[in-house]
């Protein structure tokens, strides 16, 4: 067999060129989208924009404080519910991977992850909005919590599964009871990974519009009440962008810019924190 070294090297070089090209190519859409939103949105943002409620039609100015506060409250309430529940389920799944319950709840998590967000919205509408007779921030939070759950569960499970069994054995052999082994050894050792899952789930749901359409509904006024309709950033963008008014379009661009920056900062923050808190095994 004759080995054509030159041809082989050329093929390798071409292959390498192709993967480098595509790796570069995928950054283009992100940069273009980022650049466009920054260009359109950055000049809308000022103190007035961040601190006032939207102006009535026909008046100039107005801001997005109602949506900022609304998004913050709804995501926080969702997180307070979804994080402990998701972590507990994730711990169970990683601890008992072979049990029947783990199989079925794992299956449910996968399906839940695939449920379109608008469907989650409709379900919550029938569960909470209809019985209560009103759109409410609480129902919005419920929809967001359902969206967050699979991400928190899977990231907790995957992180804890990567920890070596020897860690658990070390603690158990010291006579440490099981619940303390989990809470004092396993979870702290996997904390960086769990945290990054939590941050990603927040970044994911903060931009969700569909589940809020029939639940939190939206509100042109500033509201702090969980039982009343509440505005959110993505919903505000949706309403303003589909309106016929130019200055509303500008507000939508400003709000998009804020939302994008939030997600970007959250992602960078997560990367830094996980690197800092990562436990060296």
């Amino acid at each position: 067999m004759e080995l054509n070294i030159g041809l082989r090297n050329t093929k390798s070089a071409i292959f390498k060129g192709i993967i480098v090209f595509f790796a570069f190519l995928i950054t283009v859409p992100l940069i273009v989208v980022l650049g466009y939103i920054i260009k359109q949105g950055i000049f809308q943002v000022n103190w007035h924009f961040l601190t006032s409620v939207p102006a009535p039609v026909g008046e100039t100015g107005g801001g997005i404080i109602n949506a900022l506060v609304g998004s913050f409250i709804m995501v926080m309430v969702a997180a307070v519910v979804a994080i402990p529940v998701g972590m507990a389920a994730g711990i169970y799944l990683s601890e008992n991977p072979r049990s029947k319950l783990a199989y079925y709840s794992g299956l449910c998590v996968d399906i839940l992850q695939g449920v379109p967000s608008i469907v989650v919205g409709i379900v919550v509408y029938f569960w909470i909005v209809k019985p209560l007779g009103t759109f409410s921030a609480l129902s919005g939070s419920a929809a967001l919590a359902i969206m967050m759950l699979p991400i928190v569960i899977r990231s907790t499970e995957q992180t804890l599964k990567m920890l070596p069994d020897s860690l658990k054995e070390a603690a158990l052999s010291l006579g440490v009871p099981y619940h303390r082994v989990i809470l004092k050894v396993i979870v702290p050792c996997g904390f960086a990974g769990i945290l990054s899952g939590i941050m990603l789930s927040i970044a994911r749901v903060i931009g969700e519009t569909a589940p809020l359409l029939f639940t939190a509904f939206g509100n042109p006024y500033l509201s702090y009440s969980l039982t009343k309709p509440m505005e959110s950033l993505p919903h505000l963008i949706f309403t303003y962008a589909t309106s016929p008014y130019d200055d509303w379009h500008n507000l939508a661009w400003g709000a998009s810019f804020i939302l994008l920056m939030f997600v970007l900062v959250l992602n960078i923050f997560t990367k830094v924190l996980t690197r800092k808190w990562k436990v060296q095994l």
Binding site: A171, L174, C189, V279, Q280
Partner: protein, 252 residues
Amino acid sequence: MESTIVKAENYNSYFGDNHVVKDVNISINKNEVIAVMGPSGCGKTTFLRGINRMHELIPNATSKGKILLDGENVYDMNAIYVRSKIGMVFQRPNPFPNLSIYENVVAGYLLNGIKISKADKDVIVEKSLTSAALWKEVKDSLHKKGTFLSGGQQQRLCIARAIAMQPELILFDEPTSALDPISTSSVEALFHELKANYTLIIVTHNMQQAARVSDRTAFFYMGELVEFDDTKQMFTNPADQRTQNYITGRFS
């Protein structure tokens, strides 16, 4: 006057239907160093893990018979209590990566939520690290993470962690198999010193190690305790043909 600390009576272990430790009877005295040797899969580690009830943590694992610790059957006691009375050192060094060297030594107290004063902790840390021949090397870096140490140092840290709980008995599951020769000899040298205060049971598949460190040796083969005798006697004049075959290297 020798007194028995651990005694196994008709002890059997199973993984599902697989009978891995068969009807073991053995009696171990205080302040002895016991080596448990035998080829891979002979049940020596399973037997060891039966003593502090770590065996039962594996799904499907069961056991029968008695293990008496100071005359009391460990299977009648609370498993958590048993494990806090018996120290254990594993094959691979496993210091807690989220804790400092200092915290690792007192991990048995910290993780169990046992409150002790800072002064007591300081004493325990220094004493345990000194006993584990690690104090000199780490006394200036006690608050660094334990995982920054070398493999041999990490293993001695794990020994210090076991000693800190003041057990009477310490179990070693092939404690040097993941270590380089220099670290191995430092850990072996430690066994001689620990003997004064503790009873050691050391599982090893390294015959030379068994010969070097132990007073008495138990030879396991296919789940049976074939022979248990003075180490010298065992290596010079074994009673059983299978023991002879093993130490002459006819099977490993």
